[in-house]
Amino acid sequence: MVQSVVERSVPVEDAPLRAEYIKAFRGMLLARVLDDKFASLYRGGKIHGGVYLGRGQEALSVSVGLALRPGDVFAPLIRDGAGRLAFGESILDAVRTYLGSVLGPMRARDGNVHRGRPLTGLLPMLSHLGAMVPVVNGVLLGHRFKGIRETVGATCLGEGGTSTGAFHEALNQAAVEQLPLVLVIANNQYAYSTPSSRQFACHSLVDKAIGYGVRGHSLEGNDLEACLTVVGDAVARARRGEGPQLVVARLLRLCGHGEHDDASYIDPALKSAPFARDCLRLAEERVLAAGWMSPREVELWRAECVQKVEEAVAQVQREPGPDPYAEDWCALASRHLSEGYHGA
């Protein structure tokens, strides 16, 4: 039962999968439009700190978000804008966090991709890679203690994150406890500027699955159909009690690490590989070729996405930023234990 298997696309002909494909494509397009807006705001000097995009990873990310349901837990990483939206994060939460609105979920105390709403199952990430995996395990342990059944926890990492001790400790922990964890690895070929050849030496990252005693799945991460099928299967298996699932997707990051990074280090030869093709363009070609959407419908949806994003940005730009004099500067929930001593 414990084995690594390469799963391939199956033709999407049945109606439920077709509906899922279109839904996913629309989610990817919205995420791309939102990302493009963040890039534009960054270039215009409207965003403090970094901007991290999911360009090229939307098919994989959206599939994770769509496979989850209310009550599940999701700890996205920096390129999971599509997965966040599919899981239920609002455009406003994203924009408010990037623009530092006090009305956002992080209240301007944290920014950009470090956002979430823990009580709705969306965990805000730590910058330290791999650190979210044991935390998802912990939520799932908590569910077990509380008798909450059939919930799944999913989290995403890049291939660079698999080099951390946290990844190893947490995947092993999930296997020992047989937790319904779905750990999705986007092997996007570069961790910041470091190529995979300097990151790991195994033939394929999915081979790690057998070492941990978990089921492994691998796929081409720019193939939306494969993403929906494989990620959906992994989540379903976890939900059925089959234990942790490791999903490894091959793709190419189609942007810099952040918008400050021109990604000049990316090997030009990689860019012409089949897995390097833009997942959004491939998905669009597919919906058009299959006649599932007309070009006009796609353009209408794109325009609708732009309008939603522009409205959100316009609204947030009128919202207040943080006021250091109104800030309570208290890190503890137990206010009576706060010294209020700041060394001044």
């Binding site: 470090h114 009580l119 650190a131 509380k146 001593y341």
Partner: protein
């Protein structure tokens, strides 16, 4: 009938498990084996499924505790030795410590750190790490020095809505005894006058309270009355009680088993010097372990950390200033 510091810790965990279904214990060898020091002895039998053996993965242990806390649980993590908590450092200080500030969601986890030196412990089973945790915001750091505090403060730690580092001293585990468990306790965050005196204040915490009390007893024979302040928690630090004591005595010696650079003794001296300079009749002094790893051999170890004898010497020197 007497109860040890270690038994008080076990009893507090038993009470927490019995009183609150959200509580569970997670750590290495804590299950049927009962823990390396037997602080969880019989608890897995008494509370089936709620005392979980963990793999040797301190980072994942703390990470999972954070997740469970966010899901509404009240985990107690046992680090086998305080020294190993450095593997879980990232999750403790960056994740747990920042959680409420970032998200407005509390992160109530208790992390028990059996720490401090014992004879033969050596560099990696003896460390006193309270200061590095206290350095970070969003964390409460407890350093109980008595059987009563070990019991009541651990119950408090579980009840507090924030991450609590519960630094329990291994040297006190078996030697320190009380007649019975307390039914009431001082509030967390308040220091205690362990011995009143008018000539000098010695501020100490954890095992050093007992060394300071022994030194005070020694100096009492020389007609020197030393006031010993037991901090109980190093964060929050009860500056009011310290300042009031220094106002009475005019002299301050702060003693810590941890290393001298930065740390609790430096913090106490800095606050007294900046806020209570006019209360002092002499420059405030401090005594710490030597700035080397903790030595293995008992002869070296006894010279490495402050003892009643070295505290008495430091106190006499301070009286001459």
């Amino acid at each position: 009938m007497s109860i040890t510091y270690l038994e008080a810790i076990r009893a507090a965990q038993g009470k927490a498990l019995a009183d609150d279904p959200r509580v569970f214990i997670y750590g290495q060898d804590v299950g049927a084996f009962g823990g390396a020091f037997k602080a969880t002895k019989n608890l897995s039998q008494e509370f089936p499924g709620r005392v979980l053996d963990a793999p040797i993965s301190e980072d994942a242990i703390v990470g999972a505790a954070i997740g469970a806390a966010v899901a509404g649980m009240r985990p107690i993590v046992e680090m086998q030795f305080a020294d190993f908590s450095t593997i879980g450092f990232n999750q403790i200080v960056n994740h747990a410590g920042a959680y409420h500030w970032r998200t407005n969601v509390p992160c109530p986890i208790t992390i028990r750190l059996p720490g401090g030196g014992t004879s033969g412990g050596g560099p990696f089973h003896s460390q006193s790490l309270e200061a590095i945790y206290a350095h970070f915001p969003g964390v409460v750091v407890m350093t109980p020095a008595t059987v009563e505090d070990a019991y009541s403060m651990l119950l408090d730690a579980v009840a507090i809505d924030d991450p609590v580092i519960f630094f329990e001293h291994k040297f006190l585990y078996y030697h320190l005894k009380a007649e019975k468990l307390p039914t009431e306790a001082m509030p967390t965050g308040k220091a205690r006058i362990a011995r009143p005196g008018r000539d000098m204040t010695i501020v100490a915490y954890s095992a050093m309270v007992h060394e300071a009390l022994a030194a005070a007893e020694e100096l009492a024979a020389e007609r020197v009355e030393i006031e010993v302040v037991d901090l109980r928690t190093v964060k929050p630090l009860d500056t009011d009680t310290i300042m009031a004591s220094v106002a009475r005595t005019g002299r301050l010696l702060c003693v810590g088993e941890a290393w001298p650079y930065g740390g609790v003794t430096a913090e106490v001296l800095a606050r007294v010097a900046t806020e209570g300079f006019d209360l002092l009749d002499a420059p405030p002094q401090r005594l710490n372990a030597k700035d080397t790893p903790v030595p293995y051999h008992p002869t070296l170890w006894a010279a490495h950390r402050p003892t009643a004898r070295s505290i008495a010497v430091a106190a006499r020197n301070l009286l001459r200033l």
